[in-house]
Each structure stands twice: as C-alpha cells, then as structure tokens.
C-alpha cells in the first residue's frame, strides 16, 4: 500500500501555485514525470561538490565523477535485470531506437529484409525505420489496431511476422495507455527467428521491466518518465547483439587508437558513448531508480490503474466526451485520451489549464495512430504515483464546467 501523502512530500513542484492562483494538478506524466527531491539533490550535489569530466583525468574529482557515472550504470542496469556492460547510455528512448537502427540494423539488414512495427508506435519507433528503408531498401510492415478495442490485431501481427528479421513494438501506447502483450509478441517473434526491440519509454514507469526475463534483443528506455532527469536514457541489449553493432556516432572516448591512417574502436558499450557523458543526468537517474526501489512496482501500477479507471468512468458520463481506449483495462498504464465533440482539443487544454490541470494535447507524436483513430489529435490525462482520486474529482468537476459553459 502506497503512502501517497508521503510520496507527494518528496515532490516540491506539486506545491506549485500557478500564476492565476490555481494549484497545479499535474496530469501530463506520459510526457514527463515530476522529479523527487532526492533526484534534484543528487544532481545539485554533483555540480556543487564533484563536477568533473568522467573517464579522462586523474584527479580526485574526476575519479568521483567516473565512479558515480558507473555506479549509476550498475544501479540502473540491475533495476532492469540487464548486465551493466550491455547498457548503453543514450539521450533517451528515441536515441536508443536510432542506435538500433544505425548501429545494428544498418549493419545486419539489407535490401528485402522486413521490419515489423505497429500503427501504435511513437514517431521515434517509426521514422528511423522509414529512413532505413530509404537507405537500405528494407520493407517496413505496419500491424494495425482493432478499431473497436484499440488493441493490436494479433492475427495480423502473426501474418506480418512471415519472413521478418526485426520486430519493433511499443510496450505501452503513449496515447491509449494500452499495455501490449509483449511476452506473447516476443515469443511469437522469436519463434520466427526475428530480433525484437521493445520501446519501454511508457512501460518503465508502470511496471518492473526485466531484460533477461522478457528475452527481447533490445529495450529502449527514457529516464525522465520514471522520476529521472530529461536528456538521458539507455539501450539495453545482449552480449550477442552488442557484438553485432557498429558505432552510430564517433569521436572521443570511443576509440582505442586514432592515427592519420584511421581509427580503431573500443568494445562493448564504450563504443557507443562518444563525447562527454551526461554525468549529472546519469547520477540523477540512479537516484530516481533508488527512489523507485523503495516501492513495489505492482503497487504503483495498481494505484495508477485505480485512478485512471475512475477518471475514465466519470469522464464518459460527461455529455460530448469520448474516450479512446479502455482505462478500466487491468493493464492500462494510466493514460486517458479523450476528445469533446464540439470543443476543439487545444481550446479544451487551455481551458483545463485555467483550472490548474496540466494535460497533453496534440497528435502525441503518433500520427499513424491518430489516422487509425480518425482524429487529428486528442487530449490526454496521464497519471502517476503521486496523483490522487481527489485531484481526479476536481478535474471531473472542472471538465464538466467547461463542457457546460463552452460546448
């Protein structure tokens, strides 16, 4: 059982009063979560006390910075059930997916090979494959969603796997909050000898992701949706796959030797981490993981699910509101996408903001999914560990008021 009051006390921003005097109610967690004080402190402490570049100089601060960077790697990879040597720091899930595209697929796939993705993907898991298709002639197949349930069409998925080399699928939809049957997808894909990439940007804040247990080839993760800072994430991979990868970006730190005749590269994750690392961000992410480890992720999921299901149940009672997806679904990640039949989505978001309610509006970087839903955009309320039923009750009241006054 979570002590939500104590949890909220860890997040100073939740006491924020907006310029119009309204208290902030933050329902934009699928875009980015808020950060607990321990994450803010860990990053400040680095800059205040041991800021230095990592893996370069031989002095006390440099040693402390290098140790902190690698300790964070150990802590984060352990949290995700992966080996630290197979964890590559990236700027986030987007860069992690691009790293698979440019670092692995470009070297291992060729003209005529098939990559299977879905209509539900974030643009980060669509555009890199379209670009690879242009460059290498690989075929990109899209698995559709069922127009009634909004779930992936698993029969179509199985058909799409025929002759495929790589499957890239989101763990959880950033728009619909639907948690895909990842285990089944990985099993089906492995049965057809496909490599599998799972975009865990939305899944990681809501359940304990375990690389070894899942058995995928690549997991892409962002820190900032799970209490960590922006600007950092990672690609988790296996011993086999990392050896098949080539460098995506080149420069300092990733080389064994550089001469005027050419360069040789380091092995493992070091080959992919060129330039000055995101040291403060890695330390902050480590602190976020440490903070999350005090909870059972199942409790977080249950809390968020309860709030989202309640929100969905009450929102649907408001005349004119339509919800996409099913927030009452047990696996829902707590994202509730909705529209009003006459109040335009941008207008609705601005009017909600007048009450202090922060929601996301737009195509959510998922335009193929918007096309499948037949809408250009949605409003999205997304909940996390610190949100409360009282906040949702206030939101419902304000939403009703808007609909009555502006429809």
């Amino acid at each position: 059982m979570l002590d939500i009051k104590a949890i909220r006390a860890d997040f100073p921003i939740l006491d924020r009063v907006l310029p119009n005097g309204k208290n902030l109610v933050y329902f934009d967690n699928a875009a980015t979560s808020q950060k607990p004080q321990c994450v803010i402190d860990a990053m400040s402490n680095f800059y205040e006390n041991y800021n230095s570049n990592a893996h370069r100089s031989n002095h006390t601060l440099a040693d402390e910075a290098s140790s902190a960077l690698e300790n964070a790697r150990n802590q984060i990879s352990n949290f995700f059930g992966a080996k630290p040597e197979n964890m590559i720091y990236t700027s986030g899930a987007t860069e992690a997916i691009n790293l698979v595209s440019y670092g692995w697929a470009k070297n291992n796939l060729d003209n005529g090979d098939v990559i299977v993705i879905t209509e539900m993907e974030h643009h980060a898991d669509i555009v890199p494959w379209q670009e690879l298709s242009k460059e290498k002639g690989v075929e990109v197949r899209y698995v559709p969603i069922n127009n009634e349930t909004f779930m992936l069409d698993m029969e179509a998925f199985e058909i799409a796997l025929d002759g495929a080399a790589l499957v890239c699928v989101t763990h959880t939809s950033n728009v619909l909050g639907i948690r895909n049957p990842i285990e089944e997808i990985i099993k089906m894909s492995k049965g057809k000898n496909c490599k599998v990439l799972i975009d865990c940007a939305q899944g990681a804040p809501h359940e304990k992701i375990n690389f070894e247990t899942l058995g995928a080839d690549f997991l892409a993760i962002s820190a900032h949706k799970m209490a960590g800072p922006t600007g950092i994430g990672c690609l988790l991979t296996s011993n086999e796959r990392i050896q098949e990868m080539g460098p995506f970006m080149t420069g300092g730190s990733m080389i064994k030797k550089v001469t005027t005749d050419g360069s040789t590269f380091k092995d493992g994750h070091e080959m992919f981490e060129t330039g000055t690392p995101r040291i403060a961000e890695a330390i902050g992410w480590g602190a976020a993981v440490g903070w999350l480890e005090q909870f059972n992720m199942v409790d977080i999921h249950n809390h968020v699910h309860e709030i989202a299901a309640y929100a969905g149940k009450e929102m649907i009672k408001i005349p004119g509101i339509k919800i996409f997806g099913d927030p009452s679904n047990e696996d829902s990640s707590g994202a509730v996408s909705f529209l009003h039949e006459t109040i335009q989505s941008q207008d609705l978001a601005l009017l909600l903001d007048q009450g202090g309610y922060a929601v996301r509006t737009g195509h959510h970087c998922a335009q193929p999914l918007m096309d499948a839903l037949g809408v250009p955009s949605t409003n999205r309320a997304s909940f996390w560990i610190y949100n409360t039923q009282e906040e949702v009750e206030g939101f419902i009241t304000h939403l009703k008021y808007i609909c009555e006054r502006f429809a």
Binding site: N20, I343, Q344, S345, Q346, D347, L350, L351, D353, Q354, T361, G362, H363, P376, S377, Y401, R405, F406
Partner: protein
C-alpha cells in the same frame, strides 16, 4: 495608432479587463470567435494559406482592400485562436500596411490573455500573428 495598439481596440481591451476571471475572458473570446468580422471560410483554407507548425488548423490571407488598406481574413478550428484573430482583424483592418507591420501583440497581454503568447512552438495564435506582421511588411513595400 497609440504607441502599443490602435486606439479603436481600447473598448475591447476594457471589455476583457472587466471580466471576473479567466474563464469569463475565454467565454468572451469564444463570442468574438463566432463574430469574426472578416472570416476565412473553410472552403478557402489551402496549403498556401495554412500556418505551419500549429497543432490546430489555422489559415490566414493578408491583402489590400480597394482603398489600398490592410485586409486580414483568418480562420482556425480552435475557437481561442479564432477569437484572437477576430480581435486582431478588428485591430489591423483598414490600417496602412506599414502601421500593421509595426504592431506588437501587447494588446493580447493587456486583455489578460498572456497564455496565448507562449513561445510554445505549437502556439497557433503567435504563429498566425507573426505571419500577419511579415505579410504586412511585404505589402507595405509593394
């Protein structure tokens, strides 16, 4: 034109200032959206007059009327953007293009609608306003 906005906007600004709260201001803005003096009907929305980068659909045509004075016609699917453009049309239509090119969106802030001026890339109104100023400058040089 005053140093900040055309004087004939003063009455509208006062109307917004008299609103009890922001929700009342937005309700008033919705009324202006419905009563746009120079609307751009949806059948005239084209790729050429679309404002790119907005998350809502927004279209603008700037031209000169028979007397050589500025004429703004605007349309948007978001009522808040449409309302702001209606007021902007009231502000600029009938002015010399050179006067329009010097306009700033200060009147929006004065009306208590500062949120509409956020530099957010998806902000419909600011993108439209900047397009109007750019086209006014071009028209003033022709």
């Amino acid at each position: 034109m005053s140093s900040h906005w055309p004087e004939h906007l003063d009455g509208i600004i006062e109307e917004f200032k008299d609103c009890f709260d922001s929700m009342e201001r937005y309700e008033l803005l919705f009324d202006y959206a419905k009563n746009n003096p120079n609307p751009l009907p949806t059948e005239e929305w084209t790729e050429e007059n679309q404002i790119l980068g907005c998350q809502s659909r927004a279209h603008v045509i700037c031209s000169l009327d028979e007397g050589g004075l500025f004429l703004l016609k605007a349309g948007a699917d978001a009522q808040i953007v449409q309302g702001l453009m209606s007021i902007t049309a009231i502000a600029v239509n009938g002015l010399e293009p050179i006067e329009v090119s010097k306009l700033t969106p200060a009147y929006i802030e004065e009306m208590g609608l500062k949120a509409a001026l956020s530099p957010n890339r998806a902000n419909g109104f600011l993108n439209m306003f900047n397009r109007v100023i750019k086209e006014a400058k071009i028209l003033s040089e022709t």
